[in-house]
């Protein structure tokens, strides 16, 4: 497996040149500017992108005959305007946070994994399979066991992607994409045959978990524990990647796999463990979907959370803490989709148009990072500085 990765010690090629291997390079251009500018840049550019997308979206709304200012007000109120609204936003954000890690973590290793949906589905399925075997176990024990099953299944699913890459040279993006279809087929097979509840006549579903096995809401709120898991997972993963020796090894392999080998790093083990660690989070999201939302496994597990997670990871520049922010932003946007229809009589696709504007603007704004002479190269991941 020959990987041509430029050394982090030499200047990276211009951003337009994608290296043959497909592994992302670490931009090494640095500027000797005060960090303050860099902080400002990393805040101003995304904010500017949001302002521009809001303006474009306002024109869109005006064309449809709605008052853009009233629409902005409604989006804010529906997504962030009250504690009730913010809880709804967080509920939407929870699976996105967990799923985004599945792309964000392997990216630091130089792998682009998009198997989030598949890992979520197998996680949910395995959690259900185990939960159905433990109808009489103590609720907490059953929940912990289900979470462990979901995490293990999701982890192994993505570890398989890493193994295919490491030992057989299979492109991880393609294999993880295809494994999504395998996971969904597996779910369909299970809910149509092995664990099908014969009562589910018109929507094939597994037998139901018991009420005691369901995860409780967090005291006094509408929130399920998924949001807590998401926050903890993102912080843990941020800490792992940025602050630990193992995280440094991950980044070393991602920076230059040959140099990492020469330095004696166990690249295969690092790849497999990192992929496993990436996969456990969508697996956990699947368990939460089953044990906090649906109460059984069925095709609703496959609700595009995983695929949205890919988007979140890229927008967050693969920084786990950025994933928290972007998930909340996206959760809020999705949550506000309803009020645009109910209060402003805009078409149901309006919120998708808005999301499209926001994400295009943020992605385009990426090219502005580090462009100004007085802007330092910083980035949320602090990758530039590390290599400087």
């Amino acid at each position: 497996m020959a990987l041509k990765i430029p050394s982090p010690l030499t200047p990276a090629p211009p951003a337009e040149q994608v290296p043959e291997s497909g592994r992302p390079t670490v931009a090494a251009r640095t500027y000797l500017t005060p960090e303050g500018w860099a902080h400002l840049e990393s805040l101003l550019i995304p904010l500017g992108a949001i302002v521009i997308s809001l303006l474009v979206f306002g024109i869109f709304c005006a064309c449809l005959g709605a008052n853009p200012l009233a629409v902005y007000g409604s989006i804010y109120r529906a997504a962030f305007g009250s504690w009730y609204a913010f809880q709804n936003t967080l509920l939407r954000a929870a699976p996105l946070m967990l799923c985004s890690l599945c792309t964000a973590i392997p990216f630091r290793l130089g792998l682009i994994v998009i198997g989030n949906e598949g890992a979520l589905v197998v996680g949910g399925l395995c959690a259900t399979l185990l939960g159905l075997q433990l109808p009489t176990a103590a609720p907490l024990a059953a929940q912990v066991a289900m979470a462990a099953a979901g995490m293990a299944a999701g982890g192994l699913w993505i570890a398989a992607v890493g193994a295919l890459r490491q030992f057989r040279g299979v492109n991880e993006t393609i294999s993880s994409l295809l494994l999504n279809y395998v996971a969904i087929a597996l779910l369909n097979q299970a809910i149509n045959t092995w664990i099908r509840d014969p009562e589910s006549i018109n929507k094939a579903s597994s037998f139901a978990l018991t009420d005691e096995q369901m995860l409780p809401t967090l005291g006094g709120t509408n929130l399920h524990p998924g949001i807590l898991f998401g926050l903890v997972a993102c912080v843990l993963m941020w800490f792992l990647v940025q602050k630990t020796t193992f995280g440094f090894q991950i980044r070393a392999v991602g920076g230059n796999v040959r140099a990492a080998r020469l330095a004696g790093l166990p690249v295969a083990r690092i790849t497999l463990v990192t992929c496993f660690l990436a996969g456990i989070w969508p697996g956990l999201a699947g368990m939460v979907e089953v044990a906090a939302v649906h109460g059984r496994a069925n095709e609703s597990l496959n609700a595009w959370y995983g695929n949205s997670g890919i988007l979140v990871a890229f927008l967050a520049r693969h920084n786990p803490l950025g994933c928290v922010l972007i998930s909340i932003l996206l959760g809020g946007l999705i949550e506000s989709g309803g009020i645009l229809q109910r209060s402003h009589h805009l078409p149901d696709a309006t919120v998708l148009v808005f999301q499209g504007f926001v994400f295009l603007a943020i992605l385009f704004s990426e090219s502005l990072h580090g462009q100004g002479q007085w802007f330092g190269k910083f980035g949320w991941g602090r990758r530039g500085r590390r290599n400087g």
């Binding site: 006549i201 912080v235 909340i328 229809q341």
Partner: protein
Amino acid sequence: MLSPLGLTLSLILPSMRIFFTYFAVLCASVFGTTILPGEDLKVGFIYVGPKDDYGYNQAHAEGAATLAKLPGLKLEEEANVPETVAVEQTMKNMIVEDGLKVLFPTSFGYYDPHILKVAKQFPDVQFFHCGGFYVEGKHPKNVGTYFGYIDEAQYIAGIVAGLTTKTNKLGFVAAKPIGQVLRNVNSFTLGARSVNPKATVQVNFTGDWSLPVKEAEATNGLIDQGADVITCHVDSPKVVIQTAESRGAFSSGYHASQAAIAPKGYLTGAEWDWKNVYKAYIADVQAGKSLQAGAIPHTFRGGLKEGFVRLSPFGPAVSEQAKAAADKAKAQFMAGSMVIYKGELKDNTGKVVVPAGAEWKQQDPQLEKMNWLVEGVIGSPKG
């Protein structure tokens, strides 16, 4: 756990605060949503797909649109709401933020667990769901379900198809091999073979409710095999009917009328007619009746006679003979004397499923559990 959590918060909050402030500034000048007079009855409709899908959702949206014209009634709609936590939040938003007391979440998958969960939290709100099976004593008292025997209309559409086909081969594009779908395939086949015993129906399952590419492939495949009348049971029949029309085949619609997209080949179609159901419910609610008090039944079913379903008007290709046969069968349904499933009836493997002399009327629970295809259908009930 606490210190990393605190760390995230300290990192998130400053940027969040800027984000919030930014929005707050924008919103400061804005406050302009209309406050409605409290006396109007506000009714909410939730759809799983777009309202103009030429299919399942459009049929419901057309029914809802007739309500919007009623005095003293305010309609609120949300489309493209998936069968996840999303629908729970949409229902809660309609109740908590907009003060709705009557909801119509129309997709099958909304029922269990989402409606059951939210209904328990809001016992004074009435939930009317399309297609669910209400279980007395187990499901909340403020939930009711309604559904129509659309296979009666499929039976008549089958008669028209059977008398129109030249090749004696009919094509059926179906989503999933579940009870509801198999029942439509069987009723369509029985209708066709009641007037044309040589007719066969080839069924082609796509595997999911909305797979436009596969639906087009299935339609083309059926026509390539000689079928000259195509019908379907998918969420949006638009692609199937359009493809059939472009290939010069006849078509029979489903859910709503697709006559507009197939002006030449559209024969008729089995349509939902939800306006009657919705008007009946609203009249009850406005008269002060409720599900909770037991004044509105928890299970509401009907067919052609009760006005739950109807046929699309006949297209130009339908012969006088076919019209007469269809009208005759319709009159029997309206009189209540028609039974589609009566013995002796064999499935397409030769096994007797309805014994001689037996009559399975529309309410018969065995019909809801259907897992076989009747003689004359080419295909497997396993998909």
